[in-house]
């Protein structure tokens, strides 16, 4: 759950995880599984674990991935690193994280437009109310829809590149 009670993912959240529920139910994708990755403090390790995720997905011949973060703050660096590593392997990637008005991106890159905000509080701030901003089924559905569009667009541009 990390920093931020309103987004923290309890043990019950993992047991009933809305992302797994939504992705496993969709017959239009071949759902491969869930890669769980931590958030090391050390900078070398931060880059390494993100890279390992990307290589693993590549080896599974994954076409598209959704990455979600538990908590926010320091872990945002790990999140963007991993997203970039996945993207640079040619895998379509969509992110889901708490942004609101409080956790906006310090640095933007080509992947930031593909991160969906799970904030639900009117203030856009950490409310300290457990689960107020946590990822729900609607977020999961949005992410899956967005990923399908992204996979299609990425495939088209890859085909164009091949033809030119």
């Amino acid at each position: 759950m990390g920093v931020g009670p309103s987004t923290k993912e309890t043990t019950k959240h993992h047991f009933k995880d809305p992302l797994v529920r939504v992705f496993a139910q969709d017959p239009d994708i071949d759902f491969q599984g869930i890669i769980v990755v931590g958030t090391p403090q050390d900078n070398v390790l931060k880059n390494l674990v993100g890279k390992r995720v990307a290589k693993w997905l590549k080896a599974m011949r994954t076409d598209g991935a959704v990455i979600s973060a538990d908590g926010w703050g320091n872990s945002d660096v790990d999140f963007m690193n991993t997203m970039e590593s996945i993207g640079s392997e040619g895998i379509s990637v969509i992110g889901l994280k708490f942004i609101g008005t409080q956790a906006t991106f310090v640095v933007t890159n080509e992947y930031t437009p593909y991160v969906l905000d799970i904030n639900k509080s009117p203030s856009g701030k950490e409310t300290t109310v457990l689960a107020e901003n946590s990822l729900d089924e609607r977020d999961a559905n949005k992410a899956l829809g967005f990923l399908k569009l992204k996979m299609r667009a990425d495939q088209k541009s890859a085909e164009l590149e091949e033809n030119n």
Binding site: S6, T11, Q32, G33, V36, G38, L45
Partner: protein, 246 residues
């Protein structure tokens, strides 16, 4: 992978009360007022309360976790049979004796009804009985990784006798049976989920592959794995392969 079938049998609890010992029958759960184990040296006290539905107008310390009560009856995590209780769950809270909250960055302490959104995937339902397990540590406690793990493990040891009874409860008495398989859809785009979880130490930790669903015993810490990625099947995930300790 397609042959791995997971059956989660759901037992609905419609009443929870404090009694002398653990009992589970006829949709009713009885739990003891005090933990049966000796308190660790760092602990000042442990307070256990049952909150009936709609009676959440009580003070709470920082909410450390919401824990479903499940047990493995047959097979390993991700396959076989699991029994789970619905209608109740454990709310783990904590502070030190001077009121210093255990999760000090944005703590959820206050009046419980104002500090929790019910009916989310990670929280109790409106009609659930909440078992509030509140740990007060001594002000000399370092609140480091070891002492945090001790709190989570102590709460888990309190839950284990419920799991033991649930394990030998006749599966035919289950209210619902949910059956899951890791389906494959050849020819469709291959999609994976990446879950970034906390593994920075102290109260930011997650355990994987404990013996019991959503349990702790034999669980492997993501910190001890150097935060390296681990692949879980959908069924493993659904069967409580992750225990949050954050």
């Amino acid at each position: 992978m397609p042959n791995e079938t997971l059956k989660i049998k759901e037992f609905i609890i419609d009443h929870v009360q404090i009694g002398d010992s653990y009992q589970l029958k006829d949709h009713q759960l009885v739990i003891p007022k005090k933990p049966q184990e000796v308190l660790p040296a760092d602990f000042q006290s442990v307070e256990i309360k049952v909150l009936p539905p709609n009676q959440l107008d009580v003070p709470t310390n920082a909410i450390m976790d919401v824990i479903p009560i499940s047990t493995k009856v047959l097979g390993n995590i991700g396959e076989g049979i699991t029994h789970t209780l619905t209608g109740t769950c454990v709310l783990l809270t904590g502070a030190d004796q001077q009121g210093r909250q255990i999760h000090d960055f944005g703590s959820s302490d206050g009046i419980l009804k104002d500090q929790i959104m019910l009916d989310r995937d990670g929280t109790p339902g409106t009609n659930d009985y909440i078992i509030m397990f509140n740990v007060i540590v001594k002000s000399t406690s370092k609140m480091d990784r070891k002492s945090m793990t001790e709190i989570f493990a102590f709460a888990d040891a309190y839950i284990q006798p419920i799991r033991k009874i649930l394990k030998v409860t006749n599966g035919l008495e289950a209210d619902y049976t949910h059956e899951y398989v890791n389906e494959v859809h050849p020819g469709k785009p291959k999609v994976a989920i990446v879950k970034q979880v906390s593994g920075q130490g102290a109260m930011y930790d997650n355990l994987l592959f404990a013996k019991e669903p959503s349990g702790m015993e034999d669980g492997i810490s993501i910190i001890d794995l150097n935060n390296f990625p681990v692949l879980l099947t959908p069924n493993e995930y659904r069967d409580g392969a992750i225990r949050a300790m954050v």
